[in-house]
Amino acid sequence: MPLLELRNLSVDFATASGPFRAVDGVDVSVDKGEILAIVGESGSGKSVSMLAMMGLLPWTATVTADVMNFDGKDLRQLSPKARRKIIGKDMAMIFQEPMSSLNPCFTAGYQIKEALRLHLGLDAKARQKRAVELFEMVGIPAPEERLKAFPHQLSGGMNQRVMIAMAIACNPKLLIADEPTTALDVTIQAQILDLLTGLQRDTGMALILITHDMGVVAETAERVSVQYAGQKVEEQPVADLFATPHHPYTSALLAALPERATERHLPTIPGVVPGQFDRPEGCLFSPRCKFADDRCRTVPPVPASADLGFARCHYPLSVSAEAEA
């Protein structure tokens, strides 16, 4: 049984101009100790689906799912109180902006110890010991000093390490990293990714990495799920996805990688992800797809079989991306 299983997850937001579906029938499944990457452009619903699973969306959001199981528990059935016993303990999350994700009014130590007291009930002495230990684990030098520091006294990379230490404080079974390196310098990005994969290996927790960076995916993930406009359009093991993308969107994403570009200009995907008012009738990617025909523009496609990477496409590709490019 997978550690986390979401089936047909949808999230609707009530907006002033009517309902908006940010996540549309997404399936996610993660095994114990596995690294799953969720890839997609901004606005493709990657973060929202994970926030929905954690129960962190504002009240304007309506979450529905056929299955929402974590560690043998049905998240849909849990009371908010019972759910709070799981999130922050067995299931933790780190976010994109480390500088704004920590409370400016409290020291790093206060914020990390808060979780230790809440979930593990440690006394003051044990909390201090564990906090120092965690800061050492995430590579923060002079941990005793740093525990007393306020977030504005630390750098962005250091703050992200604090966030990671906070997230792994209670030995979670699943860590969700929502674009953990986007706001950081390139050199720090690599360090943080190494830290995350190292911690994942050492603790055996499962890791969901939300990113729009295919380079990050190639380096870290085992399995990749590609999302577009709130739908999952393809899912494959990482090597297969890079070798043989089945959905034209995945293929276009890979073709846009600088390392793969063969022409002088970097290939791009024209247009933007459809928003609330310009959702196409048929396949959501059809306005931007170079293979689209009338059927694509009128009939929404259903996911293909497993050997075609569950590609949500009428005409899944089966040639390798290299050959096509």
């Binding site: 709070r84 799981i86 999130i87 922050g88 303990k89 704004s100 808060e114 979930h119």
Partner: protein, 335 residues
């Protein structure tokens, strides 16, 4: 911290001199002659008039008069009232505790109710409690204070007979008033029922004076909370599995307090200076009523001295608020 306080005190200097100048000029710009007012209906002979002019020093150039006044102020001498002949300093500090006591009670009342109300409204944005609270706050803010006071007196003192109509304590009690703070003195007098009577007399004036600050604090808390609640670190706090009470009451409120403290500080300032209507209606022997009477009597030293002392009190409140910022938000502390 000491350096911070010292640098703040330095910035007070120009403000302080500005206030003395304005206070001095303001009362002299007003039409009316203090000697004629003092003389009353009987009038005064021209000889006597000249004598008095010289006695009070009004025949000298205004600049010289101001310079003399300033010298006095810097030596702690605010002059004597024309009417009572008592030192302004003594009169002020006899009456000021009454105003301070009432203002503090009003601000405590406004904060204790306004802060939680604003938090609850922000957390339940758009729901029944929020709407009810925000519309009542608007009513409270726009209501004429004298009308509101009279209404409360009619209902609670007149119809229900729960509260006294005016004064600071029942006439049945008599004791020395060494500090001027009635609650404190009543407690220490040891007389049975004295404290209760003092509290009883404070209730209505506190509510009347605290109504506008209450509305302002509730609205300010709500809007500051709404802004903070959409911050990333609130999501982090919720992702830790913290209960809503801790997320809203600790993580969010601490950040929302800065604008709220500002409003509370400003309110204390206006209350100290502006309790005039409330003091008049409830016959509260504070500085508001004293100042108004002095203006009518053209009692120059009292008006000048009163304005300067009130300004100093407001400056002290502002300094306290500035120091509180640092305690609440560590980012400000480091500057």
């Amino acid at each position: 911290m000491l350096r911070f306080i010292f640098s703040r005190l330095l910035t007070f200097l120009p403000t302080f001199f500005g206030v003395t100048l304005i206070a001095f000029a303001f009362i002299r710009v007003l039409p009316g002659d203090p000697i004629i007012v003092m003389a009353g209906e009987r009038g005064v002979t021209p000889e006597r008039y000249q004598e008095l002019i010289t006695q009070f020093g009004f025949d000298r150039p205004v600049i010289v008069q101001y310079w003399d006044y300033l010298k006095g102020v810097l030596h702690g001498d605010l002059g004597h009232s024309f009417v009572t002949k008592k030192p302004v300093w003594d009169e002020f500090f006899t009456l000021f505790p009454a105003t301070l006591e009432l203002s503090l009670c009003a601000i405590v009342f406004a904060t204790l109710l306004g802060l939680p109300a604003g938090v609850i409204a922000a957390v339940n944005r758009g729901k029944f409690f929020d709407r009810t609270l925000m519309s009542s706050a608007l009513i409270g803010y726009s209501m004429p204070i004298f009308w509101w006071a009279l209404l409360l007196i009619i209902v609670f003192s007149g119809w229900l007979g729960w509260t006294p109509v005016s004064g600071r304590i029942s006439l049945m009690y008599y004791f020395d008033n060494p500090t001027g703070f009635m609650l404190w003195d009543a407690l220490w007098s040891g007389q049975k029922g004295a404290l209760w009577s003092a509290i009883h007399h404070l209730i209505l004036p506190t509510i009347v004076l605290g109504t506008i600050p209450l509305a302002v604090i509730a609205r300010q808390t709500r809007s500051a909370m709404l802004e903070v609640l959409s911050e990333d670190y609130i999501r982090t706090a919720r992702a830790k599995g913290l209960a809503p009470f801790r997320v809203n009451g600790v993580h969010a409120l601490r950040n929302a307090l800065i604008p709220v403290i500002t409003v509370i500080g400003l309110s204390v300032g206006t209350l100290l200076a502006g309790a005039i209507l409330t003091e008049t209606i409830f016959s509260w022997p504070g500085i508001g009523k004293w100042m108004v009477d002095s203006i009518f009597r053209r009692d120059y030293p009292v008006v000048q001295g009163g304005l300067v002392l009130i300004a100093v009190m407001v400056m002290i409140v502002n300094l306290t608020v500035d120091m509180l910022y640092g305690f609440i938000n560590p980012k400000i502390r480091k500057r």
